[in-house]
Protein backbone atom coordinates (compact mmCIF):
# COMPACT_ATOMS: atom_id res chain seq x y z
CA UNK A 1 0.00 0.00 0.00
CA UNK A 2 1.35 3.41 -0.89
CA UNK A 3 0.92 5.88 1.88
CA UNK A 4 -0.49 9.19 0.86
CA UNK A 5 0.74 12.39 2.43
CA UNK A 6 -2.18 13.77 4.44
CA UNK A 7 -3.40 17.30 3.80
CA UNK A 8 -3.04 19.94 6.49
CA UNK A 9 -6.04 21.87 7.76
CA UNK A 10 -6.23 24.93 9.96
CA UNK A 11 -9.23 24.87 12.31
CA UNK A 12 -11.42 27.93 12.88
CA UNK A 13 -10.08 30.55 15.31
CA UNK A 14 -11.76 29.73 18.63
CA UNK A 15 -10.92 33.06 20.30
CA UNK A 16 -12.31 36.54 19.80
CA UNK A 17 -9.70 38.44 17.85
CA UNK A 18 -10.12 41.87 16.33
CA UNK A 19 -10.92 42.18 12.68
CA UNK A 20 -7.42 43.50 12.01
CA UNK A 21 -5.86 40.54 13.81
CA UNK A 22 -8.04 38.12 11.86
CA UNK A 23 -7.21 39.70 8.50
CA UNK A 24 -3.51 39.84 9.23
CA UNK A 25 -3.55 36.24 10.41
CA UNK A 26 -5.24 34.92 7.29
CA UNK A 27 -3.04 37.03 5.01
CA UNK A 28 -0.15 34.99 6.42
CA UNK A 29 -2.08 31.73 6.28
CA UNK A 30 -2.68 32.34 2.56
CA UNK A 31 1.03 31.63 1.98
CA UNK A 32 1.33 28.83 4.53
CA UNK A 33 1.47 25.14 3.56
CA UNK A 34 -2.06 24.27 4.68
CA UNK A 35 -4.44 23.00 2.01
CA UNK A 36 -7.70 23.41 3.97
CA UNK A 37 -8.75 26.44 6.00
CA UNK A 38 -11.83 26.41 8.26
CA UNK A 39 -13.18 29.89 8.94
CA UNK A 40 -16.08 31.31 10.94
CA UNK A 41 -17.33 31.63 14.49
CA UNK A 42 -17.74 28.34 16.36
CA UNK A 43 -17.93 29.45 20.00
CA UNK A 44 -20.09 32.50 20.72
CA UNK A 45 -23.02 33.85 18.72
CA UNK A 46 -22.55 37.28 20.26
CA UNK A 47 -19.17 37.85 18.66
CA UNK A 48 -19.83 40.17 15.75
CA UNK A 49 -16.41 41.43 14.68
CA UNK A 50 -16.90 39.46 11.48
CA UNK A 51 -20.38 39.03 9.96
CA UNK A 52 -21.28 36.14 7.69
CA UNK A 53 -20.63 38.30 4.61
CA UNK A 54 -17.17 39.15 5.96
CA UNK A 55 -16.34 35.48 6.40
CA UNK A 56 -17.57 34.81 2.87
CA UNK A 57 -15.37 37.60 1.51
CA UNK A 58 -12.41 36.24 3.44
CA UNK A 59 -13.21 32.80 2.05
CA UNK A 60 -12.95 34.19 -1.49
CA UNK A 61 -9.53 35.63 -0.74
CA UNK A 62 -8.29 32.36 0.68
CA UNK A 63 -9.79 30.43 -2.22
CA UNK A 64 -7.98 32.76 -4.62
CA UNK A 65 -4.79 31.84 -2.78
CA UNK A 66 -5.53 28.19 -3.55
CA UNK A 67 -7.01 27.15 -0.24
CA UNK A 68 -9.86 24.73 0.14
CA UNK A 69 -12.16 26.86 2.32
CA UNK A 70 -14.74 25.39 4.70
CA UNK A 71 -17.21 27.55 6.64
CA UNK A 72 -17.46 26.39 10.21
CA UNK A 73 -20.52 26.80 12.42
CA UNK A 74 -21.48 27.19 16.08
CA UNK A 75 -21.35 24.27 18.49
CA UNK A 76 -24.11 25.61 20.73
CA UNK A 77 -27.14 26.96 18.85
CA UNK A 78 -29.89 28.21 21.14
CA UNK A 79 -31.64 31.32 19.84
CA UNK A 80 -33.63 31.81 16.66
CA UNK A 81 -31.01 34.36 15.56
CA UNK A 82 -28.37 31.61 15.81
CA UNK A 83 -30.46 29.43 13.50
CA UNK A 84 -30.93 32.28 11.03
CA UNK A 85 -27.17 32.71 10.76
CA UNK A 86 -26.75 28.95 10.48
CA UNK A 87 -29.26 28.75 7.60
CA UNK A 88 -27.48 31.52 5.78
CA UNK A 89 -24.14 29.75 6.10
CA UNK A 90 -25.54 26.36 5.12
CA UNK A 91 -27.18 27.84 2.02
CA UNK A 92 -24.11 29.85 0.96
CA UNK A 93 -23.78 27.82 -2.26
CA UNK A 94 -20.06 28.47 -2.56
CA UNK A 95 -18.08 26.79 0.22
CA UNK A 96 -18.46 23.49 1.99
CA UNK A 97 -19.75 23.76 5.58
CA UNK A 98 -18.58 22.12 8.79
CA UNK A 99 -21.52 21.08 11.00
CA UNK A 100 -20.94 21.20 14.73
CA UNK A 101 -24.52 20.49 15.74
CA UNK A 102 -27.15 18.09 14.44
CA UNK A 103 -29.28 21.11 13.51
CA UNK A 104 -26.61 21.98 10.96
CA UNK A 105 -26.51 18.37 9.75
CA UNK A 106 -30.25 18.58 9.10
CA UNK A 107 -29.81 21.72 7.00
CA UNK A 108 -26.84 20.26 5.12
CA UNK A 109 -28.13 16.77 4.37
CA UNK A 110 -28.14 15.97 0.68
CA UNK A 111 -24.99 17.94 -0.03
CA UNK A 112 -21.34 17.48 0.91
CA UNK A 113 -20.49 18.51 4.44
CA UNK A 114 -17.92 18.02 7.18
CA UNK A 115 -18.87 16.68 10.62
CA UNK A 116 -16.76 18.79 12.97
CA UNK A 117 -15.62 18.19 16.54
CA UNK A 118 -19.12 19.04 17.81
CA UNK A 119 -20.64 15.96 16.16
CA UNK A 120 -20.30 12.71 18.11
CA UNK A 121 -19.27 9.89 15.79
CA UNK A 122 -18.08 7.09 18.05
CA UNK A 123 -18.91 4.04 15.90
CA UNK A 124 -19.22 2.89 12.29
CA UNK A 125 -22.99 2.73 12.43
CA UNK A 126 -23.12 6.47 13.21
CA UNK A 127 -20.53 7.16 10.50
CA UNK A 128 -22.39 5.12 7.88
CA UNK A 129 -25.67 6.81 8.72
CA UNK A 130 -24.18 10.26 8.16
CA UNK A 131 -22.32 9.05 5.07
CA UNK A 132 -25.70 8.28 3.50
CA UNK A 133 -26.68 11.92 4.07
CA UNK A 134 -23.74 13.49 2.25
CA UNK A 135 -20.95 13.42 4.82
CA UNK A 136 -17.64 13.94 3.05
CA UNK A 137 -15.25 14.19 5.96
CA UNK A 138 -15.46 13.67 9.71
CA UNK A 139 -13.28 14.77 12.58
CA UNK A 140 -12.34 11.96 14.95
CA UNK A 141 -13.69 12.76 18.46
CA UNK A 142 -10.87 14.25 20.45
CA UNK A 143 -11.47 12.22 23.63
CA UNK A 144 -11.12 8.87 21.84
CA UNK A 145 -8.01 6.71 21.67
CA UNK A 146 -5.88 5.09 19.00
CA UNK A 147 -7.63 1.71 19.12
CA UNK A 148 -10.99 3.21 18.20
CA UNK A 149 -9.41 5.13 15.33
CA UNK A 150 -7.82 1.92 14.05
CA UNK A 151 -11.18 0.12 14.21
CA UNK A 152 -13.07 2.93 12.50
CA UNK A 153 -10.44 3.38 9.80
CA UNK A 154 -10.81 -0.30 8.94
CA UNK A 155 -14.58 -0.16 8.49
CA UNK A 156 -15.33 3.38 7.33
CA UNK A 157 -17.00 3.80 3.95
CA UNK A 158 -14.25 4.17 1.33
CA UNK A 159 -15.31 7.61 0.13
CA UNK A 160 -15.32 9.17 3.60
CA UNK A 161 -12.25 11.14 4.65
CA UNK A 162 -10.99 11.10 8.22
CA UNK A 163 -9.61 14.24 9.84
CA UNK A 164 -7.58 14.16 13.02
CA UNK A 165 -7.05 17.00 15.47
CA UNK A 166 -3.27 16.87 15.96
CA UNK A 167 -2.29 20.16 17.56
CA UNK A 168 -3.97 22.76 19.75
CA UNK A 169 -5.73 23.34 23.01
CA UNK A 170 -8.52 20.80 23.32
CA UNK A 171 -12.13 22.01 23.17
CA UNK A 172 -13.51 20.31 26.29
CA UNK A 173 -16.92 21.82 27.04
CA UNK A 174 -19.55 24.43 26.15
CA UNK A 175 -21.97 26.15 28.50
CA UNK A 176 -24.84 28.61 28.62
CA UNK A 177 -22.61 30.69 30.88
CA UNK A 178 -19.74 32.86 29.77
CA UNK A 179 -16.81 32.12 32.04
CA UNK A 180 -14.76 35.06 30.83
CA UNK A 181 -17.59 37.42 31.75
CA UNK A 182 -17.98 35.56 35.04
CA UNK A 183 -14.31 36.13 35.81
CA UNK A 184 -14.84 39.87 35.44
CA UNK A 185 -18.17 39.83 37.33
CA UNK A 186 -20.03 40.80 34.19
CA UNK A 187 -23.30 39.32 33.00
CA UNK A 188 -23.28 37.47 29.71
CA UNK A 189 -26.00 39.75 28.33
CA UNK A 190 -23.78 42.73 29.07
CA UNK A 191 -20.35 41.22 28.58
CA UNK A 192 -18.76 44.14 26.75
CA UNK A 193 -17.02 41.56 24.55
CA UNK A 194 -14.50 41.13 27.33
CA UNK A 195 -12.99 38.03 25.69
CA UNK A 196 -11.25 40.43 23.28
CA UNK A 197 -8.73 40.97 26.07
CA UNK A 198 -7.75 37.28 26.09
CA UNK A 199 -6.64 36.31 22.57
CA UNK A 200 -5.37 32.96 23.86
CA UNK A 201 -8.00 32.48 26.58
CA UNK A 202 -7.75 32.78 30.33
CA UNK A 203 -5.64 30.22 32.16
CA UNK A 204 -7.20 28.26 35.05
CA UNK A 205 -4.87 26.60 37.55
CA UNK A 206 -5.52 24.47 40.58
CA UNK A 207 -5.04 25.96 44.04
CA UNK A 208 -1.62 24.32 43.93
CA UNK A 209 -0.78 26.27 40.80
CA UNK A 210 -1.03 23.36 38.35
CA UNK A 211 -2.31 24.60 34.97
CA UNK A 212 -5.56 22.80 34.17
CA UNK A 213 -8.08 24.59 31.94
CA UNK A 214 -8.38 27.60 29.66
CA UNK A 215 -11.47 29.80 29.59
CA UNK A 216 -12.65 31.12 26.24
CA UNK A 217 -16.09 32.67 26.65
CA UNK A 218 -18.67 29.87 26.88
CA UNK A 219 -16.01 27.35 25.87
CA UNK A 220 -13.68 25.54 28.25
CA UNK A 221 -10.43 24.34 26.71
CA UNK A 222 -7.51 22.39 28.08
CA UNK A 223 -4.64 24.45 29.43
CA UNK A 224 -2.30 21.95 27.80
CA UNK A 225 -1.88 21.67 24.07
CA UNK A 226 -2.73 18.40 22.32
CA UNK A 227 0.25 17.40 20.24
CA UNK A 228 0.39 14.27 18.08
CA UNK A 229 3.48 15.23 16.08
CA UNK A 230 5.38 12.14 17.15
CA UNK A 231 2.40 9.99 16.14
CA UNK A 232 2.44 11.38 12.60
CA UNK A 233 4.10 8.33 10.99
CA UNK A 234 1.46 6.12 12.56
CA UNK A 235 -1.38 8.43 11.52
CA UNK A 236 -0.08 8.38 7.95
CA UNK A 237 0.10 4.60 8.06
CA UNK A 238 -3.50 4.51 9.26
CA UNK A 239 -4.54 6.44 6.17
CA UNK A 240 -5.63 9.65 7.91
CA UNK A 241 -6.59 12.08 5.16
CA UNK A 242 -6.39 15.41 6.95
CA UNK A 243 -4.43 16.71 9.94
CA UNK A 244 -6.01 19.62 11.81
CA UNK A 245 -4.08 22.31 13.63
CA UNK A 246 -5.86 24.66 16.03
CA UNK A 247 -4.91 28.35 15.73
CA UNK A 248 -3.27 30.17 18.63
CA UNK A 249 -2.19 33.80 18.95
CA UNK A 250 1.52 33.17 18.46
CA UNK A 251 3.58 30.73 16.40
CA UNK A 252 0.73 29.17 14.38
CA UNK A 253 2.72 29.55 11.16
CA UNK A 254 5.81 27.94 12.66
CA UNK A 255 3.66 25.07 13.92
CA UNK A 256 2.20 24.59 10.44
CA UNK A 257 5.74 24.56 8.98
CA UNK A 258 6.80 21.82 11.37
CA UNK A 259 3.82 19.58 10.60
CA UNK A 260 4.36 20.22 6.90
CA UNK A 261 7.99 19.16 7.01
CA UNK A 262 7.33 16.08 9.10
CA UNK A 263 4.43 14.91 6.92
CA UNK A 264 6.72 15.17 3.89
CA UNK A 265 9.36 13.15 5.61
CA UNK A 266 11.78 16.10 5.78
CA UNK A 267 12.96 15.22 9.25
CA UNK A 268 12.09 13.02 12.18
CA UNK A 269 9.22 14.07 14.43
CA UNK A 270 11.38 13.97 17.55
CA UNK A 271 13.77 16.51 16.03
CA UNK A 272 10.94 19.04 15.91
CA UNK A 273 9.00 18.03 18.98
CA UNK A 274 10.99 20.13 21.44
CA UNK A 275 10.35 23.17 19.25
CA UNK A 276 6.62 22.46 19.29
CA UNK A 277 6.74 22.09 23.07
CA UNK A 278 8.13 25.60 23.19
CA UNK A 279 5.19 26.93 21.18
CA UNK A 280 2.56 25.46 23.53
CA UNK A 281 1.35 28.19 25.93
CA UNK A 282 1.70 25.78 28.90
CA UNK A 283 2.95 22.37 27.81
CA UNK A 284 1.87 19.54 25.54
CA UNK A 285 -0.36 16.56 26.29
CA UNK A 286 -1.37 13.43 24.39
CA UNK A 287 -3.17 11.25 26.95
CA UNK A 288 -6.35 10.80 24.91
CA UNK A 289 -4.44 9.09 22.10
CA UNK A 290 -3.07 6.57 24.60
CA UNK A 291 -6.43 5.90 26.27
CA UNK A 292 -5.37 7.81 29.37
CA UNK A 293 -6.62 11.02 30.98
CA UNK A 294 -6.39 13.67 28.26
CA UNK A 295 -4.18 15.89 30.40
CA UNK A 296 -1.35 13.37 30.64
CA UNK A 297 1.73 13.34 28.48
CA UNK A 298 2.72 9.84 27.46
CA UNK A 299 6.11 8.58 26.20
CA UNK A 300 6.68 11.35 23.72
CA UNK A 301 8.89 9.15 21.62
CA UNK A 302 10.86 5.95 22.10
CA UNK A 303 14.26 6.52 23.62
CA UNK A 304 13.31 9.77 25.30
CA UNK A 305 15.00 10.27 28.63
CA UNK A 306 12.57 9.03 31.30
CA UNK A 307 13.07 12.17 33.38
CA UNK A 308 11.97 14.26 30.42
CA UNK A 309 9.11 11.98 29.54
CA UNK A 310 7.62 12.20 33.02
CA UNK A 311 8.25 15.90 33.44
CA UNK A 312 5.30 17.86 34.72
CA UNK A 313 2.98 14.88 34.52
CA UNK A 314 0.43 14.79 37.27
Amino acid sequence: MTERIPRLALGAIPYYWSREQIELFYAQVADAPVEIVYIGETVCAKRKEMRTRDWLALGEELAAAGKDVVLSTLVLLEAEADLRTLRRICANGRFMVEANDMGAVRLLQGESFVAGPGINIYNDRALTRLAALGLKRWVFPVELARDTLVALQAIRPAYIETEMFVYGRIPLAYSARCFTARHLNLQKDDCGFCCHAYPDGLLVSSQEGAPFLNLNGIQTQSAQTYNLLTQLPELIELGIDVLRIGPQREHTLEIIEIFDRVRRGEGEPQDFDCMLEGYAPVRACNGYWHDEPGISQHDTYPGMHPALASQDVL
Partner: protein, 331 residues
Protein backbone atom coordinates in the same frame (compact mmCIF):
# COMPACT_ATOMS: atom_id res chain seq x y z
CA UNK B 1 -47.45 17.46 33.09
CA UNK B 2 -45.74 14.14 33.56
CA UNK B 3 -43.39 13.62 36.52
CA UNK B 4 -40.34 11.56 35.48
CA UNK B 5 -38.27 10.26 38.40
CA UNK B 6 -34.86 8.61 38.57
CA UNK B 7 -34.37 5.08 39.86
CA UNK B 8 -30.87 3.73 40.40
CA UNK B 9 -32.08 0.62 42.19
CA UNK B 10 -35.20 -1.46 42.79
CA UNK B 11 -35.93 0.23 46.17
CA UNK B 12 -35.62 3.64 44.48
CA UNK B 13 -37.92 2.55 41.68
CA UNK B 14 -40.53 1.43 44.21
CA UNK B 15 -40.11 4.69 46.13
CA UNK B 16 -40.68 6.73 42.96
CA UNK B 17 -43.70 4.67 41.91
CA UNK B 18 -45.21 4.78 45.41
CA UNK B 19 -44.79 8.53 45.76
CA UNK B 20 -46.39 9.68 42.57
CA UNK B 21 -44.02 9.36 39.61
CA UNK B 22 -45.80 9.05 36.26
CA UNK B 23 -42.67 7.47 34.85
CA UNK B 24 -39.33 6.25 36.12
CA UNK B 25 -36.08 6.07 34.17
CA UNK B 26 -33.57 3.33 34.79
CA UNK B 27 -30.43 1.85 33.27
CA UNK B 28 -28.54 -1.42 32.95
CA UNK B 29 -25.66 -2.09 35.30
CA UNK B 30 -22.91 -1.13 32.82
CA UNK B 31 -21.52 1.69 30.71
CA UNK B 32 -24.51 1.73 28.37
CA UNK B 33 -26.04 4.52 30.46
CA UNK B 34 -24.78 7.86 31.72
CA UNK B 35 -24.98 6.99 35.44
CA UNK B 36 -22.58 4.07 35.51
CA UNK B 37 -21.56 3.82 39.16
CA UNK B 38 -20.66 0.79 41.24
CA UNK B 39 -23.66 -0.71 43.01
CA UNK B 40 -26.10 1.29 40.89
CA UNK B 41 -28.63 0.26 38.25
CA UNK B 42 -30.37 -2.94 37.24
CA UNK B 43 -29.51 -6.48 36.20
CA UNK B 44 -31.96 -8.55 34.17
CA UNK B 45 -33.83 -9.92 37.19
CA UNK B 46 -34.29 -6.66 39.10
CA UNK B 47 -35.23 -4.89 35.91
CA UNK B 48 -37.99 -7.36 35.19
CA UNK B 49 -39.25 -7.11 38.75
CA UNK B 50 -39.11 -3.33 38.59
CA UNK B 51 -40.99 -3.13 35.31
CA UNK B 52 -43.68 -5.45 36.66
CA UNK B 53 -43.97 -3.35 39.84
CA UNK B 54 -44.28 -0.09 37.93
CA UNK B 55 -46.66 -1.44 35.33
CA UNK B 56 -49.05 -2.88 37.93
CA UNK B 57 -49.36 0.64 39.35
CA UNK B 58 -49.73 2.44 36.02
CA UNK B 59 -46.23 3.95 36.00
CA UNK B 60 -44.18 3.99 32.80
CA UNK B 61 -40.61 2.78 32.65
CA UNK B 62 -38.05 4.46 30.41
CA UNK B 63 -34.67 2.89 29.84
CA UNK B 64 -31.62 5.14 29.50
CA UNK B 65 -29.19 3.79 26.91
CA UNK B 66 -27.62 7.16 26.43
CA UNK B 67 -23.87 6.74 26.03
CA UNK B 68 -21.82 6.51 22.84
CA UNK B 69 -20.58 3.01 21.96
CA UNK B 70 -17.25 2.50 20.23
CA UNK B 71 -16.64 -0.40 17.84
CA UNK B 72 -15.11 -2.66 20.50
CA UNK B 73 -18.11 -2.23 22.81
CA UNK B 74 -20.85 -2.19 20.20
CA UNK B 75 -22.26 -5.71 20.89
CA UNK B 76 -23.04 -4.71 24.47
CA UNK B 77 -25.16 -1.74 23.35
CA UNK B 78 -26.87 -3.81 20.69
CA UNK B 79 -27.76 -6.47 23.24
CA UNK B 80 -29.01 -3.78 25.60
CA UNK B 81 -31.39 -2.44 22.93
CA UNK B 82 -32.65 -5.98 22.28
CA UNK B 83 -33.18 -6.65 25.97
CA UNK B 84 -34.99 -3.35 26.47
CA UNK B 85 -37.33 -4.20 23.61
CA UNK B 86 -37.86 -7.73 24.93
CA UNK B 87 -38.64 -6.41 28.40
CA UNK B 88 -41.20 -4.08 26.89
CA UNK B 89 -39.94 -0.79 28.30
CA UNK B 90 -42.20 2.14 27.49
CA UNK B 91 -39.40 4.12 25.87
CA UNK B 92 -35.71 3.95 25.13
CA UNK B 93 -33.75 7.12 25.94
CA UNK B 94 -30.81 7.23 23.53
CA UNK B 95 -28.22 9.69 22.24
CA UNK B 96 -25.96 7.92 19.74
CA UNK B 97 -26.79 7.90 16.03
CA UNK B 98 -25.69 4.27 15.78
CA UNK B 99 -27.94 3.18 18.64
CA UNK B 100 -30.90 5.04 17.10
CA UNK B 101 -30.12 3.50 13.73
CA UNK B 102 -30.03 0.00 15.16
CA UNK B 103 -33.14 0.49 17.31
CA UNK B 104 -35.27 1.83 14.45
CA UNK B 105 -34.18 -0.83 11.98
CA UNK B 106 -34.55 -3.75 14.40
CA UNK B 107 -37.40 -2.64 16.67
CA UNK B 108 -39.56 -0.23 14.66
CA UNK B 109 -42.29 -0.28 17.32
CA UNK B 110 -39.98 0.78 20.15
CA UNK B 111 -40.73 4.30 21.38
CA UNK B 112 -37.62 6.50 21.33
CA UNK B 113 -36.69 9.58 23.36
CA UNK B 114 -33.67 11.76 22.60
CA UNK B 115 -31.51 11.93 25.71
CA UNK B 116 -30.05 15.12 27.11
CA UNK B 117 -26.77 13.45 26.10
CA UNK B 118 -27.86 14.02 22.48
CA UNK B 119 -27.13 17.77 22.96
CA UNK B 120 -30.20 19.00 21.09
CA UNK B 121 -30.70 22.62 22.17
CA UNK B 122 -32.55 23.84 19.07
CA UNK B 123 -35.53 22.63 17.06
CA UNK B 124 -33.53 21.98 13.88
CA UNK B 125 -31.50 19.35 15.73
CA UNK B 126 -34.66 17.86 17.23
CA UNK B 127 -36.25 17.74 13.76
CA UNK B 128 -33.26 15.75 12.55
CA UNK B 129 -33.86 12.98 15.08
CA UNK B 130 -37.60 13.13 14.47
CA UNK B 131 -37.29 12.83 10.70
CA UNK B 132 -34.66 10.11 10.76
CA UNK B 133 -35.58 8.04 13.79
CA UNK B 134 -39.14 9.05 14.64
CA UNK B 135 -38.31 10.13 18.18
CA UNK B 136 -41.38 10.97 20.24
CA UNK B 137 -39.73 13.15 22.89
CA UNK B 138 -36.63 15.24 23.53
CA UNK B 139 -34.96 15.91 26.87
CA UNK B 140 -33.57 19.44 26.71
CA UNK B 141 -30.08 20.35 27.92
CA UNK B 142 -29.88 22.57 30.98
CA UNK B 143 -28.49 25.48 28.96
CA UNK B 144 -31.70 27.12 27.72
CA UNK B 145 -33.56 30.07 29.23
CA UNK B 146 -37.28 29.76 29.83
CA UNK B 147 -37.93 32.10 26.91
CA UNK B 148 -35.85 29.88 24.67
CA UNK B 149 -37.74 26.81 25.86
CA UNK B 150 -41.06 28.52 25.05
CA UNK B 151 -39.84 29.39 21.58
CA UNK B 152 -38.42 25.92 20.94
CA UNK B 153 -41.65 24.15 21.93
CA UNK B 154 -43.55 26.12 19.27
CA UNK B 155 -41.40 24.69 16.49
CA UNK B 156 -40.63 21.31 17.99
CA UNK B 157 -42.32 18.30 16.36
CA UNK B 158 -42.12 16.12 19.51
CA UNK B 159 -42.88 16.22 23.24
CA UNK B 160 -40.47 18.21 25.39
CA UNK B 161 -39.09 17.08 28.72
CA UNK B 162 -37.06 19.47 30.89
CA UNK B 163 -35.01 19.06 34.02
CA UNK B 164 -36.83 20.41 37.05
CA UNK B 165 -34.74 19.44 40.01
CA UNK B 166 -31.41 17.94 41.02
CA UNK B 167 -27.77 18.33 40.22
CA UNK B 168 -27.07 21.09 37.73
CA UNK B 169 -24.97 20.37 34.65
CA UNK B 170 -23.57 23.74 33.69
CA UNK B 171 -22.15 22.33 30.46
CA UNK B 172 -23.91 21.18 27.32
CA UNK B 173 -24.23 17.49 28.04
CA UNK B 174 -23.01 15.07 25.40
CA UNK B 175 -20.26 17.52 24.47
CA UNK B 176 -18.39 17.70 27.75
CA UNK B 177 -15.00 16.03 28.07
CA UNK B 178 -13.93 17.61 31.36
CA UNK B 179 -14.15 14.27 33.16
CA UNK B 180 -12.13 12.29 30.63
CA UNK B 181 -9.56 15.08 30.45
CA UNK B 182 -8.80 14.74 34.15
CA UNK B 183 -9.73 11.12 34.79
CA UNK B 184 -9.88 9.21 31.51
CA UNK B 185 -13.61 8.44 31.57
CA UNK B 186 -16.46 10.66 30.40
CA UNK B 187 -20.25 10.40 30.35
CA UNK B 188 -20.08 9.89 26.58
CA UNK B 189 -17.52 7.10 26.52
CA UNK B 190 -18.06 5.30 29.84
CA UNK B 191 -21.24 6.68 31.37
CA UNK B 192 -19.26 8.25 34.19
CA UNK B 193 -18.61 11.84 35.21
CA UNK B 194 -15.79 11.91 37.77
CA UNK B 195 -15.38 8.11 38.06
CA UNK B 196 -15.08 7.03 41.70
CA UNK B 197 -11.78 5.21 41.12
CA UNK B 198 -10.12 8.52 40.19
CA UNK B 199 -11.53 10.46 43.16
CA UNK B 200 -9.49 11.13 46.30
CA UNK B 201 -10.53 12.70 49.59
CA UNK B 202 -7.42 13.78 51.44
CA UNK B 203 -7.47 14.99 55.05
CA UNK B 204 -5.01 17.78 55.75
CA UNK B 205 -4.39 19.82 58.92
CA UNK B 206 -6.34 22.72 57.40
CA UNK B 207 -9.24 20.74 56.03
CA UNK B 208 -10.18 18.36 53.28
CA UNK B 209 -8.80 18.22 49.74
CA UNK B 210 -10.69 16.64 46.88
CA UNK B 211 -8.84 15.41 43.83
CA UNK B 212 -9.73 13.93 40.48
CA UNK B 213 -7.04 12.01 38.63
CA UNK B 214 -4.54 13.66 40.98
CA UNK B 215 -5.64 17.21 40.11
CA UNK B 216 -6.69 19.29 43.11
CA UNK B 217 -10.33 20.21 42.52
CA UNK B 218 -11.10 21.95 45.80
CA UNK B 219 -10.01 22.54 49.40
CA UNK B 220 -12.60 22.72 52.12
CA UNK B 221 -12.12 24.44 55.46
CA UNK B 222 -13.08 22.58 58.62
CA UNK B 223 -16.43 24.41 58.69
CA UNK B 224 -17.27 23.76 55.03
CA UNK B 225 -19.27 20.92 53.57
CA UNK B 226 -17.13 19.10 51.01
CA UNK B 227 -18.65 18.31 47.64
CA UNK B 228 -17.92 15.45 45.24
CA UNK B 229 -15.07 16.57 42.97
CA UNK B 230 -16.51 17.36 39.56
CA UNK B 231 -14.28 19.46 37.32
CA UNK B 232 -17.03 22.04 36.66
CA UNK B 233 -17.62 22.63 40.37
CA UNK B 234 -14.06 23.15 41.62
CA UNK B 235 -12.37 26.24 43.02
CA UNK B 236 -9.42 27.32 40.95
CA UNK B 237 -6.98 30.17 40.47
CA UNK B 238 -7.57 32.58 37.62
CA UNK B 239 -5.40 35.70 37.44
CA UNK B 240 -4.60 35.46 41.13
CA UNK B 241 -8.20 35.03 42.28
CA UNK B 242 -9.39 31.76 43.77
CA UNK B 243 -13.07 31.08 43.13
CA UNK B 244 -15.57 28.75 41.47
CA UNK B 245 -14.30 29.57 37.99
CA UNK B 246 -17.10 27.66 36.26
CA UNK B 247 -19.98 27.08 38.64
CA UNK B 248 -20.84 27.01 42.33
CA UNK B 249 -21.92 23.59 43.55
CA UNK B 250 -25.58 24.61 43.48
CA UNK B 251 -28.41 22.38 42.47
CA UNK B 252 -31.28 23.13 40.16
CA UNK B 253 -34.77 23.80 41.51
CA UNK B 254 -37.46 25.12 39.16
CA UNK B 255 -40.44 24.65 41.46
CA UNK B 256 -41.29 28.36 41.35
CA UNK B 257 -41.33 28.29 37.53
CA UNK B 258 -43.79 25.42 37.26
CA UNK B 259 -46.74 27.49 35.87
CA UNK B 260 -44.50 29.06 33.21
CA UNK B 261 -43.01 25.71 32.28
CA UNK B 262 -46.50 24.28 31.93
CA UNK B 263 -47.69 27.28 29.90
CA UNK B 264 -44.69 26.86 27.60
CA UNK B 265 -46.14 23.51 26.54
CA UNK B 266 -43.61 21.27 28.23
CA UNK B 267 -44.84 17.67 28.49
CA UNK B 268 -42.69 16.27 31.27
CA UNK B 269 -40.54 17.37 34.22
CA UNK B 270 -37.49 15.30 34.89
CA UNK B 271 -35.91 14.85 38.31
CA UNK B 272 -32.16 14.19 38.24
CA UNK B 273 -30.47 11.71 40.56
CA UNK B 274 -30.24 8.01 39.79
CA UNK B 275 -27.28 8.01 42.16
CA UNK B 276 -29.43 9.21 45.08
CA UNK B 277 -31.05 7.12 47.84
CA UNK B 278 -34.61 5.74 47.97
CA UNK B 279 -35.36 8.18 50.82
CA UNK B 280 -34.31 11.09 48.64
CA UNK B 281 -36.43 9.81 45.74
CA UNK B 282 -39.48 9.43 48.03
CA UNK B 283 -39.19 12.96 49.39
CA UNK B 284 -38.56 14.62 46.07
CA UNK B 285 -41.24 12.64 44.22
CA UNK B 286 -43.82 13.44 46.90
CA UNK B 287 -43.15 17.18 46.77
CA UNK B 288 -43.13 17.38 42.98
CA UNK B 289 -46.28 15.26 42.68
CA UNK B 290 -48.10 17.65 45.02
CA UNK B 291 -46.70 20.69 43.22
CA UNK B 292 -47.59 19.48 39.73
CA UNK B 293 -51.09 18.53 40.87
CA UNK B 294 -51.55 21.95 42.46
CA UNK B 295 -50.29 23.63 39.30
CA UNK B 296 -52.64 21.56 37.10
CA UNK B 297 -55.59 22.52 39.33
CA UNK B 298 -54.83 26.22 39.41
CA UNK B 299 -51.80 27.43 37.49
CA UNK B 300 -52.63 31.13 37.98
CA UNK B 301 -52.82 30.77 41.73
CA UNK B 302 -49.80 28.48 42.06
CA UNK B 303 -47.35 29.36 44.78
CA UNK B 304 -44.73 26.87 46.01
CA UNK B 305 -45.73 25.94 49.56
CA UNK B 306 -43.09 26.70 52.21
CA UNK B 307 -42.95 23.08 53.35
CA UNK B 308 -42.18 21.91 49.77
CA UNK B 309 -39.38 24.42 49.48
CA UNK B 310 -38.03 23.45 52.89
CA UNK B 311 -38.06 19.74 52.04
CA UNK B 312 -36.34 20.24 48.70
CA UNK B 313 -33.71 22.55 50.21
CA UNK B 314 -32.99 19.94 52.85
CA UNK B 315 -32.11 17.28 50.28
CA UNK B 316 -30.34 19.53 47.77
CA UNK B 317 -26.69 19.08 46.96
CA UNK B 318 -24.70 21.92 48.49
CA UNK B 319 -26.74 24.43 50.39
CA UNK B 320 -28.16 26.57 47.61
CA UNK B 321 -30.49 26.01 44.73
CA UNK B 322 -30.70 28.00 41.54
CA UNK B 323 -33.02 28.43 38.58
CA UNK B 324 -30.00 27.80 36.38
CA UNK B 325 -30.19 28.85 32.76
CA UNK B 326 -33.99 29.20 32.89
CA UNK B 327 -33.29 32.50 34.63
CA UNK B 328 -31.40 34.85 32.30
CA UNK B 329 -29.14 36.67 34.78
CA UNK B 330 -27.58 33.31 35.75
CA UNK B 331 -26.22 33.04 32.26
Amino acid sequence: MELVCPAGSLPSLKAAVDHGADAVYIGFRDQTNARHFAGLNFDAVTMETGIRYARARGTHVYLALNTYPQPAGWPRWQTAVDRAADLGVDALIAADLGVFDYATSTWPELRLHLSVQGSAANYEAIRFYHEHFGIKRVVLPRVLSLRQVEHLVQFCPVEVEVFGFGSLCVMMEGRCFLSSFAAGESPNSCGACSPARAVEWRETPTGLETRLGGMLIDRFGLDEKAGYPQVCKGRYQVNGQTYYALEEPNSLNTLSLLPQIRAAGVTAIKIEGRQRSPTYISQVARVWRAAIDACERDAAGFVPRPEWVAQLNKVSEGTHTTLGAYHRPWR
